[in-house]
Amino acid sequence: MALVLTEEQSMLRDSARGLISDKAPVSHLRHLRDSRDATGFSRDLWQAFAEMGFAGLLVPEEFGGSGLGCVEAGVVMEEIGRTLMPSPFLSTGVVAASALARAGNAAQKSEYLPKIASGALLASLAVDEGAKHRPLQTSLQASRSGNGFKLNGAKALVVDGHVADLLIVAARTAGSAGERDGLTLFLINPRAKGIAIERTVMVDAHNAARIEFNNVEVDVDGVLGEVDQGFAPLDVVLNIGSGAVASEMVGLSEEVFGRTVEYLKQRKQFGKPIGEFQALQHRAAQLYIDIEITRAAVLKALQTLDGDFANAAAAVAVAKARAGVTATRAVQEGVQMHGGMGMTDQFDIGFFMKRARVCEELFGDANFHAEQLARARGY
């Protein structure tokens, strides 16, 4: 398959870009932040996303979705990255939809997937516990209790967890932290007894929560997939999520870079545009090359997720690691090349820097993914 977007994918990009740049430029995020909006995103826009078929993009057609793939999800994520639009697309449309579509039983799929596609249900994956993304270290305990389980522990960086209608929780039903076996995924109603949700105001003004589970009861119907065998589907979903966030970072990097190059052309010092200085030209050229190469790596990962799923892990590790390094570089150069203006809150560049930092931690940073690659290659 050619490593370029198909005509249909390009059309999808154009329609996503049209909607997002029109309804949710960076000023949209700024307004939500400054007004301390309780939801943190626009429910109207999420409804518009649903009407355009984006919310259910990864939901199979039989459940009311579009039945598209990871490349298409990446196309939308990239446009989200350009304007930093806060949206449940990642938490619900990508991660939760994938988890349910791939690991859910017939009843779970029919109950939740149509509601995701219609925009009626928001869902969040709760996996991280410590300061760093280490899914194998999951230690939130789910102990057998009657006809089900009792959950105790805490989760962090639960994206959109403050408004979720459904939580997908990774918990340990057997074994100990670090082991692959013994993890189980649970579908949990966030309003269940024993759950305490704290909305965490984040550096990037996007949305996340810390959630405590105190003797939360869930019956066996709430198990997503197989008991003790949750790591396999979790890994799949984390790979899809990583690919999606990598796409967001490509969009973010390219937008910052575009704004920075424009500034180099306009800003005059010493009587000429600063873009005439070779020191800046070469750094801009290096950054451009980094972004283009990262773009290719990310598209490769998304295509592999769609076409050769069993072998996608290495490609995803490469993509997320590259995207992290590239985005970090892009935002740093963006601020530096904008000089003092880049340091002001009034200027948008800082929003990109903050979002890049959060994207870097989501689903594992560049170091985490380089480590995955090293292990996969046997050193």
Binding site: V261, Q281, A285, Y288, E292, I293, K300, A315, R322
Partner: protein, 394 residues
């Protein structure tokens, strides 16, 4: 799509049946590379068999038209062939500046007569070409070249000197930039001309490099007579041809940063550095350098694939080869720094059986030329800044 799957199956089966086992191992020495030419020698029987079988299919140049000795494959089929060759680690049957550089330029700018004369001989490995571009005073500023071609009836008389001419001492013919008009702007008086290295007045002198090898030569022209019909493109418009060819040269050099099949770098390093109880490379900092390198290497491979696909789709920026050249060569230098670090003391030996005559340090030193030859890294960044980013006054 179904046809393509059919083609993939047939290609896989053909390669399986026709690529000798010896030709599925990575090339390690110069002997493992077949360059063709009048004086070509095969270093082994499998090398000969593999070359001849691929030549007979037209697959030394799979995407060239059949009438010029190519395989006549379309873009998608060519990609399938490349993927299937990579899957079994098949070596290139023929390495050739004729294939990588001159051929594409002739296909675009050559007359029908020139194409019919030269392309089939390139495809069949009969003629080995070298490139006469750089001069002692025309390196990064290539267009300031001074080798003169003066008109003499239907011939040019060529006088001057080239330098860094790769394998000029083994080459049969040269594609050469010469100044045909010294009285106009420097870019407007250059012609692109082809001639036989056996012509009277051509001489070469190998240059000893820091690697101890001499892949490059000085090449001298003393009243060399060349028919004017050997000019490719229009007289005094050679810069257009030169630039087009440079795009292909840069793509070729950036490809040096890619590896085919073969062991991961971390495992090679483990041979000398050792591993800990969990199978991790014994030097944690080297391990992280290698992992970071391999991330970038895999990304470059994806970018190379995408660059080809964008070109076939007509969406490529013509200057993007400069971006790839920059990244690929810097990456290859990084790879060899890592190999030297991993090899440690063992990688310091320069002679003798144990070190295969210093293969590793010599290869390491050779890569330092990657970011100089075909346009320096600094020139590449300047081209990206000016032609792609449109930055002012670059």
């Amino acid at each position: 799509m179904a046809d393509l799957e059919q083609f993939r199956r047939e290609t896989r089966a053909w390669l399986e049946a026709n690529c000798p086992a010896e030709m599925r191992r990575p090339a390690v020495s110069d002997d493992d590379v077949f360059w063709g030419g009048r004086n070509a020698r095969f270093s082994s029987e499998p090398q000969r068999v593999w070359f001849e079988r691929m030549r007979d299919k037209g697959w030394t140049v799979p995407d060239w038209p059949r009438e010029y000795g190519g395989g006549g494959l379309d873009a998608a089929e060519t990609k399938v062939l490349r993927e299937e060759m990579a899957a079994i680690g098949a070596r290139l049957p023929l390495s050739s500046f004729g294939i990588w550089m001159l051929g594409p330029a002739l296909l675009k700018y050559g007359t029908e007569e020139q194409k019919k004369e030269h392309l089939p001989k390139i495809a069949a490995g009969l003629i080995r070409w070298c490139q006469g571009y750089s001069e002692p005073n025309a390196g990064s500023d290539l267009a300031s070249l001074q080798t003169r071609a003066t008109s003499d009836g239907d011939h040019f008389i060529i006088n001057g000197q080239k330098i860094w001419t790769s394998y000029a001492n083994y080459a049969d013919w040269i594609f050469c930039l010469v100044r045909t008009d010294p009285n106009v702007k420097k870019h407007d008086g250059i012609s692109f001309i082809l001639f036989d290295m056996a012509s009277k007045g051509v001489s070469t002198k190998p240059i000893l490099l820091i690697s101890g090898y001499s892949p490059f030569c000085e090449t001298f022209f003393d009243n060399v007579r060349v028919p004017k019909s050997h000019v490719v493109g229009q007289i005094n418009r050679g810069w257009d041809v030169a630039k087009y060819l440079l795009q292909h040269e840069r793509a070729m050099i950036s490809g040096m940063g890619e590896r085919g099949a073969g062991r991961p770098l971390g495992q090679i390093a483990a041979d000398s550095v050792g591993s800990d109880g969990q199978g991790r490379l014994g030097d944690a900092i080297l391990r992280s350098q290698i992992a970071t390198f391999e991330v970038d290497e895999a990304a470059l491979a994806a970018a190379a694939e995408r660059t080809t696909d964008l070109a076939k789709a007509g969406q490529a920026h013509p200057a993007f080869s400069s971006a790839m050249k920059y990244y690929g060569t810097e990456l290859n230098k990084r790879r060899h720094e890592i190999l030297m670090s991993a090899g440690g003391i063992d990688a310091l030996e320069w002679e003798g059986e144990r070190s295969k005559d210093g293969a590793r340090p010599r290869a390491w030193l050779r890569t330092k030329a990657n970011s100089i030859e075909g346009g320096t890294s600094e020139v590449m960044l300047g081209i990206v800044a000016k032609r792609i980013l449109d930055l002012p006054g670059a």
